[in-house]
Amino acid sequence: MRELRRTGDSPEQPPATGQFASRRNLLLGTAAAGAALLATGCTSNETKDESDSGKQPAGAPGDKPGKKVTIGFAGPQADHGWLNAINEEGRRRAKAYEDVTLVSTEGSNDTAQQIGQIETLINKKVDVLVILPADGKALTGVGLKAMRAGIPVVNLDRVFNSPQAYRCWIGGDNYGMGLNAGRYIGERLKGKKNAKVVELAGMDSLELTQERTRGFDDALKNYPNIRKVARQAAEFTVESGQKKMAELLQAQPKFDALWNHDDDQGVGAERAIKQAGRDEFVMVGGAGSRHSMDVIKADNTVLKATVLYPPTMAASAIDLARALGQGKGVGGLAEQEIPASLTLYSAVVTKENVDQYLPTGFN
Amino acid sequence: MAAAPLLTMSGITKSFPGVRALDGVDLDVEAGEVHCLLGQNGAGKSTLIKVLAGAHQPDEGRISWEGREVRLGSPVAAMRLGIATIYQELDLVEHLSVTENVFLGHEVATRGFLRVRTARERAAALLRRLGHPEIDPRTLVGALSAAGQQIVSMARALSHEVRLIVMDEPSAALDPDEVGNLFRIVTDLTAQGVAVVYISHRLEEIRRIGDRVSVLKDGRVAARGLPARTTATREVVSLMTGREIAYVFPPRPTRPYGTPARTGDEATTDRRSGDSGSGTTGPEATGPGESGSGDAHSWDPWSKDPRPQDPYAKTTASQDSVPHDSGSQDHVSQDPNPRYRASQDRRSEDHRSQDHRSQDHGPEDHPSTALTPQDHDPRSGPTVPTPLTPPLLSLQSLTRKGEFAPLDLDVHPGEIVGLAGLVGSGRSEILETVAGARRPSAGRVLVDGKPLRPGSVPAAVRAGIGLAPEERKAQALLMLEPVSSNVSLSSLGRFSTGGWLDGRRERAAALAGTRDLSLSPADPDRPVRTLSGGNQQKVVLARWLLRECRVLLLDEPTRGVDVGARSELYALIRRLADEGLAVLLVSSEVPEVLGLADRVLVLREGVVVHRAPATELDEHRVLDLVMEGAPSC
């Protein structure tokens, strides 16, 4: 699927323009029509996918269509680029399988509402559940309930409290993300005396932010010449990214490297950097947005790398769910069964390898 | 009665910024009696109740309970003594059940756990005792009728060890048969030795259940402990409304409004009333016996309306009838010579009121000024001026359903028309409807013969109508703002070009206006809240004068105004009329209406029951008309 998209899609139409072009109709003052037109906007990707739907995804574990599987998918509200990509990856992957029917809930950030939605899916007796909980701890109960009802749960990214609540967990590695960002920066600044590093973190109230910072700090410990001189937390939004970055730049007249946890807030951070007219440092992003990768490829700003937190995990979750539903294992491993947990690697995307990752970049 | 009264309040004084609400009030209540408290709105009843309930702390004065001095520092302290208050606006929580409301604040509980069943049983017992066993203690209070809510409120009072219950207008929201039940409850309570302080406007209720009556007026006790059943109604009412001090009312002009000399020309009258087809022969010639249409008021020599009889004719035609006419008709027919009667009555009233004063107030009174306003009236007789100008303000069958019956009235430039009536008689509602603040259900308001858009204050203001409302603080003033912006509020457009205010001109105009009305201090930057009541009223008047308003609607213009400052206001109002304004005046103070107005309309329950020139009325007559239409005794 990845390869297929890479060769098939990107040359003729970069996703960004496709997304926007279809919304051309959304002119000033035509509010009422907005919703309807948006629907057309959303279909742009799907129509393309339909042409794919006959084929099997290239990288899929079981290539031959098998037993029909109904997968229930419950994700959070997609108010953020990465989460949006999660929903899209999952949906697209499911569509690519002839034998998979996806029952998707409306995304919700409200724990209670999401529990209700998942219970509905349980009652519908779907074969497998893929859940990205709004809050892992709060949704453990409903995960347990599904498992007890005999429905295997693939827990996506935000982990449940109890391993009994899922059959398989697949997710990113926040600690590893920080670790890899720190390593990359450490290697780049090797030999530089008294190197200063600045960190623009994500929302401080989230555990994942603390994890990333811990990984980053741990990695930097290996490089005694590097000192982290400042850290400010933004809120994963462009606006907060611009604001906090502007303050960091003001506070630190000169530094050598910056790690920004999130490419979405990075748009604001880049703006602040440009506004301050600064370019003496190396910037490393996080999560891996399409925009960041484009910038890295163009290599004309301080942004030189980004650490992945790949939304393709949703596609993989669908793969796992299908395999569970059909009682298969994972190809390429000796195991009979699907592993209980899969931690994804947070690769560092640089100018050198950006072409490889470009298709996975999210908007 | 017994040696030490249950409750004695002496010298209670309570001031609020700008107002002295209670001024040395004495009150004693015996166990087992129904002590009625009377007084107009603003007389200080509510403040007194709140002092008694522990909600307000008096500035001065002592309170004794069974001969022992006590401090009612909080509502809880009052409750502990056994004082319960049932407020007019019931203080119930609508979303809680009857039981929960009854025991609110002293829940039936053991170690913090509610004993729901016990509470419910006790509540049911209380409701039975109050004669309402049909109220389910589990219903939500919001679902009950007003009467039901009152019963709950009473049950709450009785849920304490109660010795004294204060009831603030308990019958106001009740149907007649429910009032009967209320009285039965009151009688039961007093039989058990509980004292009841009963507040009501309705004199006949006081007659039925009251033992003693105290009358409050302007924050003072006008009468203390009168026998409720034998004191004459007229006496009680005149205590409520009468003046202790006579004010100097300005002289009325003797010339017709808007003309240099009085002519009394019939032709003029006819010319103006010709189109109405009225057969009135003219004011002087019209007497009660001659009233062409048989209308009781056509004798009114001041009926200068284009259609002198039409108002009532219409009223009687469109409505069933005006039920209160008979009283005035009786009176009129008894007394064919109004002029004579007026002067006679005035004299006799003087004797009577002087008697009251010596009884009730003793040396505190002002004997030297014990004169009624009319005595200061320099006019030798009712030389009635005839308005020659067309009316400035006309009300044509102006009606608001449930508030006042169709009303026709013309007010001419230079004329002050008074509306006399008790609270709830529809007087304020009439003014607010004329001012566009209420939308009439029928009829219209004309200024200079041009009808106004109904229910629009801006339209009324543009036409030159200005209302000085009853509640100055709540309805007229921006208390935090300085005098200047309060004065300019209605005329902002005059000081602005393209929306931009010229602050200097505005301030100068405000200063000129306040100087003109001798506001003291004449400081346009002073916040209005620091001014006295009289000066606040002047600010409101200055606002309308600045707006060049031509019709002034005054609702209780001297409410909360210091006694000393009233004469000044009266002179001011008269001066404004002399300058050509048409003034419609509402007051519950009968002498004020009689002293200030040229013509008086007496209102009762939304119906005009009498119209006459002020000179032909006297306080007692008006009071009789204002009250239940009681025939004059």
């Binding site: 001189v229 606006e239 703006r271 | 543009r462 709540a474 912006s485 509020l489 931009w500 201090p521």
Partner: protein, 334 residues
């Protein structure tokens, strides 16, 4: 309390002192506490980070950071003085910024983006105003509903994605080259809106009517003021300010996002309140609100320069709100 101290004759004898001077001293004193706080912050900044804090760059930064929320606060101040509340400002900013940065809008360049932002702001303000004035709905509820639906619509339009602005003229406005005499254009807009707001509140019939309907709606009605229309206009004004702020945010961040303007409603209300605006209406000043915004922005800046984390910043913000309101309470009650 302060007025009484400086003017002992005020209570006893009427105006022996020039009334004009009294008015002036009253206005100054009202903002004294805020100026003192601001002064204290500057001292702390100068002591802890002398070179970073006391620089032109940093002054530009503080003012720029203050400008977007500042413009919103001016609008909110009007609404609060007029006796209302507007909880939807943040959501309107988000919606306007997202709508103004769709590809379709961007085709029309800077004028298109600006026009669209203002139009969306005014449109939302109009809905708020109609609901509150003619609904009639409680302002809290009406604007809460607008908050929810405007955020929802913003999410729907943007599809949760960040919309990057490609219009060079818009992007350039946020860069140092566009500074006029060293002043960023955004700060100029903020200054213009503030001065205009100050003039409108103090020197126009509109401002006077706002104070009147907030201070005593019934008295205003009986005085012949068209209270409903004034309410409508106030929400329109607030919406317009949100539209301006949205455009400024687009310039500042070079993008439109549905998460923009997060919690602006609370920040703006807080700034207005510490600036001396009565939450119940009838009293407040634009100067106070602007000072309030500057105090908050300076605190954030100071904390960031000293590398203090957001938890400490939030605690300090809360403490300042409480302190400022307590100080004002103490003064009005005396």
């Amino acid at each position: 309390m302060l007025t009484a101290a400086t003017d002992p004759g005020a209570g006893s004898l009427p105006p022996t002192k020039s009334p004009a001077r009294r008015a002036v001293s009253r206005i100054d004193l009202r903002h004294l506490s805020l100026l003192a706080v601001l002064g204290a912050l500057v001292v702390v900044g100068a002591l802890t980070k002398p070179s970073e804090f006391l620089s032109t760059d940093n002054l530009q930064l503080i003012l720029t950071q203050a400008s977007v929320i500042g413009v919103v606060t001016v609008g909110v101040t009007f609404v609060i003085i007029g006796g209302g509340i507007d909880l939807s400002v943040g959501a309107i900013v988000a919606l306007a910024s997202v709508w103004a940065t769709t590809v379709a809008t961007q085709e029309y360049g800077l004028p298109g983006i600006l026009f669209c932002a203002l139009l969306v702001g005014l449109g939302c303000g109009l809905v708020n105003g109609l609901l509150v004035a003619y609904g009639p709905m409680v302002p809290f509820i009406a604007t809460l509903a607008m908050l929810a639906s405007a955020r929802g619509l913003a999410l729907q339009i943007s599809d949760g994605r960040t919309q990057v602005v490609t219009v060079e003229s818009v992007l350039d406005l946020g860069l140092p080259d566009a500074y006029v005499l060293g002043i960023p254009p955004l700060v100029l807009i903020f200054a213009a809106v503030s001065v205009l707001g100050w003039l409108v509140l103090g020197r126009t019939t509109f401002g006077r009517r706002t104070v009147a309907i907030g201070g005593n709606p019934e008295a205003s009605r009986l005085a012949g003021i068209a209270v409903k229309r004034q309410r409508l206009l106030l929400y329109l004004l607030s919406g317009l300010c949100c539209g301006i702020a949205a455009f400024m945010l687009v310039v500042l961040t070079g993008s439109g996002q549905n998460t923009n303007g997060n919690l602006y409603e609370l920040d703006a209300i807080a700034a207005a309140i510490i600036g001396g605006t009565l939450l119940s209406g009838g009293r407040g000043t634009i100067t106070g609100s602007v000072l309030g915004v500057l105090v908050f922005t300076t605190i954030t800046n100071l904390f960031a320069l000293n590398n203090l984390q957001s938890d400490v910043q939030q605690i300090a913000k809360g403490a300042i709100i409480v302190a400022a309101v307590l100080v004002q309470k103490g003064r009005t009650s005396s």
